[in-house]
């Protein structure tokens, strides 16, 4: 087993990486003076991966399976729960399912190797019975209900439904109370066998550890054979324009909430994908970040408040720009943003502003490295897209103001923007 060592002196980090014979990629970031150990074990399988082929059978699984599987993975064949075992050992374990990935992780300050073995063991050991699967429905139904009352989720999924005509990213990761009713132990076994093969997974570890030990443990605990990497079928390519441009829904909120979104060119991998995201993030920082002329003006005149934010969301083969917050006049925000986009497209960003924004971006990225959760989860997600986020610091230097102008002019052209709004319910008389 060859472990590759890469130094990143600019950010004071060293990354060790290896690909095991079974296809698992391992990434380790040693941290000498820290008490915390963090491990994330992720599968390239999320809520949107619903259609796939297994043993020549074409399966179309109900919405919510990946998330349901995540809940049930913690059950061990002897009746124990891995969640309890890890917690009992002083670790803080958890998991999340997005539309693109499922990630199991824990943080601890002692017993790391034992905890790591348990993490790898339970995620690679499916054990479901119809009875245990049935029993989880009550808990997940409550989680779904909680999500239905959450305006942040409502506005987000409304936006995705407007942007994407048919891609399964449109549906809630947790599914609906109805869609999860048909999930059986067999469905879960099928999905586990196809998507939880080591060749479709990544392990990221940060803490005071020895990379060789991590690799050794992974080799010992996980299956030896290398399974073919599966591909989920997300349906035909989406048009780059939104399927619908405006949508409004009323909920129990105090003031209108809005999201403005646009699809970016999907399907890039490796440095190309990394570059696309870096350009998008830097361009958005300059267009509408907290120091931008656009934001400071609309903040000062009361149109926007500190809730305003932007992000580039890459998941399940899609990549989406999302800009939003709270405003009494969401339509006006869209008009003002469109005008600013037109101005930037015509004039570009001035060099002094560009240089200082790059500096700020560097500082913000440096700060993000203090967060174990952020480091491990990004390293895992980047791995599936064929790059490493530690390279961003170097790559950022190569990005020009013109790259950013082009991004704004093309990707944020007016016809590509959609606006999703949640308004307060009318007060009852």
């Amino acid at each position: 087993m060859k472990i590759q060592k890469l130094d990143y002196p600019g950010i004071g980090e060293t990354l060790y990486s290896a690909v095991l014979d079974n296809g698992l990629e391992v990434r380790v970031v040693p941290k000498k003076d820290y008490s915390t150990f963090y491990a994330a074990f992720a599968a390239n399988y999320g809520g949107a991966c619903r259609r796939f082929t297994v043993d020549g059978r074409e399966l179309d699984t109900p919405a919510g399976v990946a998330h349901y599987l995540e809940h049930k993975m913690f059950d061990l064949p002897n009746g124990d729960s891995a969640l309890n075992i890890l917690s009992a050992n002083g670790a803080d374990p958890n998991a999340f399912t997005s539309s693109g990935i499922t990630c199991y992780y824990f943080q601890c300050t002692q017993g790391f190797e034992e905890n790591l073995r348990m993490l790898l063991h339970f995620v690679s050991t499916p054990y479901f019975t119809d009875e245990t699967v049935q029993k989880e429905q009550g808990i997940i139904a409550q989680e779904i209900r909680m999500g239905e009352d959450n305006p942040g989720l409502a506005i987000y999924y409304n936006l995705l439904k407007m942007l994407y005509a048919h891609h399964p990213i449109r549906d809630r990761v947790a599914g609906t109370v109805e869609s999860i009713a048909d999930i059986t132990a067999e469905t879960l076994y099928d999905c586990h066998r196809v998507f939880y093969a080591p060749s479709n997974m990544v392990l990221c570890v940060e803490g005071n550890v020895d990379p060789e030990t991590i690799v050794q443990i992974a080799e010992e605990v996980l299956p030896k054979e290398k399974a073919p990497v599966p591909a989920a079928d997300f349906g035909p390519a989406e048009d780059i324009l939104p399927a619908e441009r405006f949508h409004t829904e009323a909920m129990e909120v105090s003031a209108p909430q809005f999201l403005i979104g646009a699809k970016l060119t999907p399907g890039l991998t490796g440095t190309q994908a990394q570059r696309q995201r870096l350009v998008a993030a830097l361009a958005l920082r300059m267009l509408c970040g907290s120091s931008s002329p656009f934001f400071t003006r609309l903040y000062a005149d009361g149109t926007l408040n500190n809730d305003f934010d932007y992000e580039v969301d890459a998941s399940a083969g899609t990549i989406t720009v999302i800009i939003g917050g709270e405003s009494k006049v969401p339509e006006r925000v869209l008009d003002e943003l469109s005008a600013e986009i037109a101005r930037v497209a015509a004039e570009g960003f001035n060099e002094a502003y560009f240089t200082r924004s790059k500096r700020a971006s560097l500082g913000a990225r440096l700060r993000a490295l203090e967060d174990f959760d952020n480091v491990c989860v990004s390293l895992a997600m980047d791995c599936f897209d064929g790059y490493c986020s530690f390279d961003s610091y170097k790559l950022l230097e190569e990005i020009s103001a013109e790259d950013c102008r082009l991004f704004v002019a093309e990707s944020l052209a007016p016809e590509r923007l959609a606006l999703s709004v949640i308004t307060p319910k009318e007060a009852k008389a």
Partner: protein
């Protein structure tokens, strides 16, 4: 990590934590004052108004441009309540010299900027700018109103409000709407000047710079800090028992699909001389984390909810149990939550449960040493308490907590308020009436 503390000038204290492991340094300044309904909104508003512009950088665009030049250094307003002590100020973070191209030290510049933000806002005729005050006031009102958007935290906050309706703690850290609406820029300017003169000030630094270097930078930066007659008479009133003989019940209706059940408890007489280690372990045994009785029984065994967990508000002597349930499970969830507390009281705690709880609490405390944000919060709370206990020291005390210690805390705990956020359609209301009679 080396901890030092000193008084830089009358009532201005510096807590210094030297550490080489972080890539960014952090620094904070907090004014300490009594949490009261009349002044809470003004307290909350002041940092936001000050953050709008200083004499050198009079608007947000100039201020942000400066911070961007300093490699994305951040200075953000922070409003906290620690018990009934209202803490308002700024939290700054900036890259350590080793990670900057020229190796420049930003400590001096950042100390100056943070002090300028607190002491030298842009003014006209000595008063805060009315347009800044009005604009931030609107935003604060939006923020106070927006609490309804997140039902889980909303329900907890409402339970605390109802439970502590005779105490200052009923007011949130952002204050209330009527008091906020009444704020006028002239009155706020006067109040701000008075607050600067009379409030004890807590400064915090964590990073690579040595104590003497930081002390000197901050002493210079805050040299103009006005110091009048200091008001050290601030603290928290802790009510030991429930307000009425029977737990109070409060119900609220909203158009929601999931109910939120929140139980508010007084920690009780154990607060006379609180054994913090034991209280934390009790909380872990009872309701916080995956090995707790609430998680294992209310969620895992009975599948009644997605979440049911307890949290202790140590400095006010309170415990909150919060849970998301189907409306019809109100009685069964409440009964089970209380039954699990009875189990802890009567000593139904296995050696394993105790061990797991202690591990979880100690591990959280040790992990906090890796987060500057948590360290800052920890040492600010210590300063408010007048204590100097490090997370590591408390973690050691946790190891010695016994089952009897945990039972003693459980026996001291008393239910004071049951709060239920539920649906608003007609059918529900009939059911709710039934519950009223039962409660």
């Amino acid at each position: 990590m080396e901890y030092s503390r000193s008084e830089l000038m009358p009532g201005v204290f510096l807590s210094h934590l030297r550490s080489d492991k972080f890539k960014t340094a952090c620094m904070s300044v907090n004014l300490l004052t009594q949490l009261k309904r009349e002044t809470a909104a003004m307290n909350a508003l002041i940092p936001s108004v000050l953050r709008r512009g200083t004499q050198r950088y009079p608007d947000m665009e100039k201020l942000s441009a400066r911070l961007d030049e300093l490699y994305g250094a951040a200075i953000e307003q922070v409003i906290r309540r620690i018990g009934e002590v209202h803490c308002l100020g700024f939290f700054a973070s900036f890259p350590e010299p080793a990670f900057l191209p020229g190796g420049e030290a930003l400590l001096g510049e950042m100390s100056g900027l943070m002090a300028e933000m607190l002491l030298s806002p842009v003014t006209r005729g000595g008063l805060l700018l009315p347009q800044y005050v009005d604009s931030e006031k609107e935003k604060l009102l939006d923020l106070i109103r927006s609490r309804v958007n997140e039902k889980r935290s909303y329900a907890v906050q409402r339970c605390l409000e109802e439970m502590c309706c005779y105490e200052d703690y009923a007011v949130s850290r952002f204050g209330d709407i009527p008091e906020c609406e009444a704020i006028h820029y002239k009155k706020l300017s006067r109040y701000y000047r008075e607050l600067l003169r009379k409030s004890p000030v807590e400064l915090f630094y964590c990073g690579q710079a040595r104590f003497e270097t930081v002390e000197e930078a901050l002493r210079d930066a805050f040299a103009a800090m006005p110091r009048g007659e200091l008001d050290f008479d601030i603290g928290t009133e802790i009510r030991m028992n429930a307000v009425e003989a029977e737990p109070r019940y409060f119900e609220e209706h909203m158009d929601v699909t999931q109910g939120k059940l929140v139980l508010g408890f007084r920690l009780g007489e154990c607060m006379e001389d609180p054994d913090r280690a034991a209280i934390h372990v009790f909380n872990a045994v009872y309701g916080s984390g995956a090995t707790s009785k609430l998680f294992m029984n209310v969620r895992e065994k009975l599948s009644l909810c997605y979440y049911a967990s307890s949290a202790v508000i140590l400095r006010k002597g309170l415990m909150i149990v919060s849970s998301g349930i189907s409306f019809e499970n109100f009685e069964s969830a409440k009964t089970e939550i209380l039954a699990q507390l009875e189990a802890v009281k009567s000593g139904e705690i296995s050696d394993d449960e105790l061990l797991w709880a202690k591990r979880a609490v100690a591990s959280d405390l040790r992990a906090s040493l890796d987060s500057q944000g948590e360290l800052e919060g920890w040492w600010l709370s210590q300063a408010v308490d007048g204590g100097e206990c490090s997370p590591t020291e408390l973690a050691e005390l946790v190891e010695n907590v016994t089952k009897e210690d945990v039972m003693a805390i459980a026996r001291s705990v008393e239910l004071d308020m049951v709060y239920f956020l539920c649906g608003s359609d007609e059918d529900e209301e009939e059911e709710d009436e039934d519950e009223d009679t039962e409660a």
